[in-house]
């Protein structure tokens, strides 16, 4: 090893705390990059493999009742490779030991051969005997949530027939990676299950012998779905087709897509911040090292080392920091990515996980890390190379301070000399002060970006459960029923107040933009499930108009006053032009609302309802469940409290983890920035501070200069941090918003206070650690050292 390389290693050893602080910030960037890219590839590759192995369909459709003979025509549609026809229906389940009802989504399982598409994967037990009437398999999460094992039974209300069903096996299906019950807002596996029963039994239960009401298609590779959807719609129309759709509208797949997009967003937003900060830290520290090693640089040049060799020497120091950072990042990223991928696999009930972060991702993360630190060191290294040897050997000229209006102002204010020293130093190196401040501002921003989600969720819960949906229970009907049913529900046990509501699937069009959603209507003055304007006042949609949520309006590119086409997918499948009268904020789903009478008029029917919203005497909820189990028309009961609880449970866990990570990151950035900044300040000012001590200043007074400057920079950073934090929060709220839900941008003073407190405390602790060196300063030796 050459002597100059040994010098490099010893310099690195001497600077190890500073180097480590930088390396850890860099490691964060590398780890997050690896984690998000690793998770992204794991999730999408696992999904692709799962879909391929279990032949997840490309196009889906539901009809009222179509003859099996139609299947040959469907198979003729251009590009169709496979057709799977099934019978599907909803059933109220009476689970032993559970007073509350659950809802089952029943699917037929073919009698003679294995399913062509959407093949369920057997997890335990066996598939049902095709001839049996009571054997079923259920989705594994539902079995797990209810503690079912093979041989367990529960009763189900299948269109008025009470049947005892016996579980013979559990399965996973690519179609139901993410399951959400009718009327529910979040998945709750205990109260919503998927049930496969033999075709013959399902046909008997739903009166579908020789017919089907659910069909899936697979298409040849590279085929567009739109023509197949149109063709399928045409074929199914006479049989009550409810409009075919592709994977992009498939609930389970759309949810997965939203998750994958979030990971993509994370990979794009966060790592650049860390790489930027580490580049800045490297540049700050290298700048100081070169100032300190001025005479050594001169000496190396005098001896005959070339500019390139000297430039490389300092770049290699930055390179060592990068090597440590990238190494730590690789290890942490690999562990983190593997763990989170496993967590996701569990959350989504993937039967397997393909976890493979390709080498190029490691290489790219490493190269980016190396590149950013080199970039940070470049200026300092070039400066070292350019330093003329004769000048380098002389002590540097004292920094130039000039009197400016600020000095006049400081003089007027009669500030203490130590305060003047702090302020002058800030102004003398404005770029450095600015960048240090920016580093701390990013730390503040990172806390805000994490904690604003808490408030956002509070607002989501408040809006969804306390303002908009104020019913205790939603009673769902299998099919629309005459409005008189509202009165019938009113007589069920415990029911205090009832209001009917109607909903129809529809395709909304504006220009070339279309969106499939449900259009709801309720009578004016209804108060349990409400549509609210921006001020929280109830809106009764005027006849002939339609109210859309902001997100739906953005999809369709419409504003209040525009007209849209609404094609209903039920009834006569008629299309109407409706004027958008208002836009409303909605957190879950894409809402579209109409006047009740207008909707009935459009359907040319006497008033009908599909949902009854109910307020309850809480003590009688069990009696209500018991009564509903025996009411054939009712397909389900959604308890809003449970809905809210499952939402809060699901998100809370993620949020605690996320908050911890982000706050950890903020502390790391703060320590990295403030420790390095304070060390550099101490090194630059050692003589100055020692002189003050010799002149009779106390330790506290001298510490004030060191701590004061750092904390002043930290204070200046706060408003910038708030601004950047608000901006990142907005970015996150936009990028996390999907068809399923939206995250509002809620910024409360407490969020800013917390962020500032975290960063100011971390900065203070870091600078206090450096201050301890001030106590150990050997006054005599510092003064003797040649500048």
């Amino acid at each position: 090893m050459q002597a100059i390389d040994r010098k490099l290693l010893r310099d690195f050893k001497r600077l190890w705390i500073q180097a480590l602080a930088i390396a850890l910030v860099l490691a964060c960037g590398v780890a997050i990059l690896l984690t998000s890219v690793g998770m992204y590839t794991a999730l999408s590759e696992t999904r692709t493999a799962y879909y391929e192995r279990n032949r997840f369909a490309d196009v889906f459709a539901v009809a009222r009742r179509a003859p099996l003979s139609l299947l040959s025509e469907i198979a003729q549609i251009d590009g169709v490779l496979g057709v799977e026809a099934r019978i599907s229906g909803e059933a109220i389940l009476d689970i032993p030991g559970r007073t509350r009802t659950a809802v089952g989504h029943i699917l037929s399982y073919p009698e003679t051969a294995d399913p062509v598409l959407n093949v369920p994967l057997l997890v335990s037990g066996r598939f049902p005997d095709p001839l049996s009437t009571d054997e079923i398999v259920v989705n594994a999460p539902f079995a797990q949530a209810n503690g079912f094992v093979e041989g367990d039974s529960f009763s189900a209300n299948l269109r008025g027939q009470k049947r005892e069903l016996t579980i013979v096996g559990t399965v996973l299906s690519p179609e139901f990676i993410y399951t959400i019950g009718p009327g529910a807002m979040m998945p709750d596996n205990a109260v919503f299950g998927i049930i496969w029963m033999p075709e013959r039994a399902a046909a008997a239960a739903y009166d579908m012998t020789g017919a089907f009401n659910d069909v899936s298609l697979s298409l040849a590779a590279g085929m567009q779905t739109a023509p197949a959807i149109d063709a399928l719609d045409t074929l199914l129309e006479p049989f009550g087709g409810l409009g075919a759709y592709d994977r992009s509208t498939h609930q389970s797949d759309a949810f997965l897509d939203a998750e994958i997009d979030q990971l993509k967003g994370m990979a794009a937003i966060l790592p650049p911040i860390f790489f930027g900060i580490s580049a800045f830290l490297v540049s700050m520290v290298m700048g100081r090292i070169i100032a300190l090693e001025r005479s050594e640089i001169g000496l190396l040049k005098a001896i005959g080392y070339s500019n390139t060799e000297i430039c490389l020497h300092f770049l290699m120091l930055a390179g060592l920091i990068a090597v440590v950072g990238v190494g730590v990042g690789w290890i942490a990223g690999t562990i983190l990515a593997r763990d989170t991928a496993a967590q996701y696999a569990e959350f989504f009930n993937f039967p397997f996980v393909i976890f493979r972060v390709s080498y190029w991702v490691y290489a790219a993360a490493g190269l980016v890390g190396l590149f950013t630190t080199s970039l940070g060191a470049a200026q300092a290294a070039l400066k070292a190379a350019k330093l003329a040897p004769a000048i380098a050997m002389q002590p540097p000229a004292p920094p130039r301070f000039k009197r400016s209006f600020i000095d006049v102002a400081m003089a007027r204010m009669r500030l203490a000399q130590s305060t003047v020293m702090i302020l002058r130093s800030l102004l003398r190196w404005p770029l450095r002060s600015f960048l240090t401040s920016l580093g701390l501002a990013l730390a503040v921003a990172s806390v805000i970006a994490a904690t604003f989600i808490n408030d956002a969720l509070d607002e989501i819960v408040d809006l969804a459960f306390y303002q908009t949906n104020r019913q205790d229970v939603m009673v769902l009907f299998a099919q629309d029923v005459p409005e008189a049913a509202v009165e019938n529900v009113r007589h069920l046990p415990g029911v205090l107040q009832t209001e009917g509501q109607q909903a129809h699937a529809a395709i909304l069009r504006h220009g070339h933009r279309t969106k499939r959603t449900a259009v709801e209507s309720r009578r004016p003055g209804n108060d349990l499930s409400r549509v609210l304007d921006a001020d929280g006042r109830r809106i009764d949609v005027p006849p002939g108009g339609i109210v859309l949520s902001y997100r739906l309006a953005a999809h369709l590119d419409v504003q209040a006053g525009d007209s849209i086409e609404v094609e209903f997918l039920s009834g006569r499948r008629e299309t109407f032009a409706l004027r958008v009268v208002d836009l409303v904020e909605l957190r879950f789903g894409l809402g579209a609302y109409m006047d009740f009478e207008s909707m009935n008029a459009m359907f040319r029917q006497a008033p009908r309802v599909s949902i009854v919203n109910v307020t309850l005497d809480d003590t009688r909820i069990e009696a209500l469940h018991a009564a509903i189990k025996d009411t054939p028309e009712i397909s389900g009961l959604v308890e809003m409290n449970e809905n809210r609880q499952s939402f809060q449970d699901t998100v809370e866990q993620n949020i605690v983890v996320m908050n911890t990570i982000y706050i950890g990151i903020a502390v790391l950035i703060t320590v990295g920035v403030s420790y390095n900044a304070a060390r550099i300040q101490l090194s630059e000012r050692a003589r100055e501070l020692a002189s003050l001590r010799i002149l009779g200043f106390g330790r506290g007074e001298v510490s004030y200069i060191l701590i004061g400057e750092m904390m002043l920079i930290a204070l200046i950073a706060q408003p910038f941090g708030w601004l950047i934090g608000a901006w990142i929060a907005q970015l996150m709220s936009t990028s996390f918003t999907s068809d399923l839900y939206s995250i509002p941008l809620v910024l409360r003073p407490a969020t800013f206070t917390t962020a500032s407190l975290v960063v100011l405390c971390a900065a203070f602790v870091s600078v206090m650690i450096v201050r301890r060196r001030l106590d150990r300063l050997d006054l005599v030796s510092v003064m003797k050292t040649r500048e």
């Binding site: 050459q2 040994r6 010098k7 310099d11 005098a302 001896i303 005959g304």
Partner: protein, 235 residues
């Protein structure tokens, strides 16, 4: 003349600070001979160090010309000057300029790593009497020892010229004498042209020639009829 190693022709060096122009060298014509030990004497700011820097290829003259043997240094680009320093010149500075993170041996190796025909670092350290202190760090050595390491580092490349800027400036007289002895020893043993800058007038008595500086110019050149051994010099 074959035994001239350095020749300068009317060199000037002007430091332009924007407001005032400072003439560090105001036209210096000088010849230095192979194997001689020359002492440059003069008050602070008289231009000695500036001349040394230009001779050593650390700096360019503002005007005039400089030759080293057949090489003209005047307009040599940076790369050429680096090679010149690497191949031919050894420097000794007042404040030793050792790299604190390297041991004595490693400090010398800094040079032997890049020079074309160096002596082993150990040999160089033995020459300055530090054979037993090779693995000590600068902070573990006295000023005299540190300066001797600096000399070992300068001679390890077997330079044709040794340029010493106030080599005893930071040392007491006893240690200073030891350092001067090493310098004379090297000069005699290897025939290395040695230029010593000092403003300690006593040191002139060990030189072959003494060149006096005043206000950026050579005011006088004196040849010593009899030279004293460093041990006979006292200050």
């Amino acid at each position: 003349m074959s035994d001239v190693i350095f020749r300068t022709q009317g060199i000037t060096k002007v430091y332009d600070t924007g407001e005032v122009k400072v003439f560090a060298l105001a036209g210096v014509d000088l010849e230095l001979y192979k194997g001689e030990l020359a002492v440059l004497l003069g008050p602070s700011g008289s231009g000695k160090s500036t001349l040394l820097n230009i001779l050593g290829g650390l700096d360019h003259a503002t005007d005039g010309r400089v030759w080293f043997d057949d090489i003209e240094l005047t307009d040599l680009p940076d790369r050429g000057l680096t090679k010149y320093r690497r191949d031919h010149v050894g420097f000794v500075f007042q404040f030793y300029n050792l790299v604190p993170s390297l041991t004595a041996r490693e400090n010398v190796q800094l040079v032997t790593d890049v020079a074309p025909n160096p002596m082993p670092a150990e040999e160089a350290l033995n020459l300055v009497g530090l054979g037993k202190r090779m693995d000590h760090f600068p902070s573990e050595m006295s000023g005299g020892e540190q300066q001797r390491v600096a000399i070992a580092r300068a001679i390890a490349k077997r330079p044709q010229i040794l340029l010493c800027d106030e080599p005893t400036g930071a040392l007491d007289s006893t240690t200073g004498v030891q350092v001067l002895e090493v310098l004379r020893d090297i000069n005699e043993r290897f025939g290395t042209t040695t230029v010593v800058i000092t403003h300690n007038a006593e040191i002139q008595r060990m030189a072959h020639r003494v060149i006096f500086f005043q206000d950026g110019k050579i005011s006088e050149v004196r040849e010593n009829e009899t030279r004293l051994a460093p041990s006979e010099i006292v200050w």
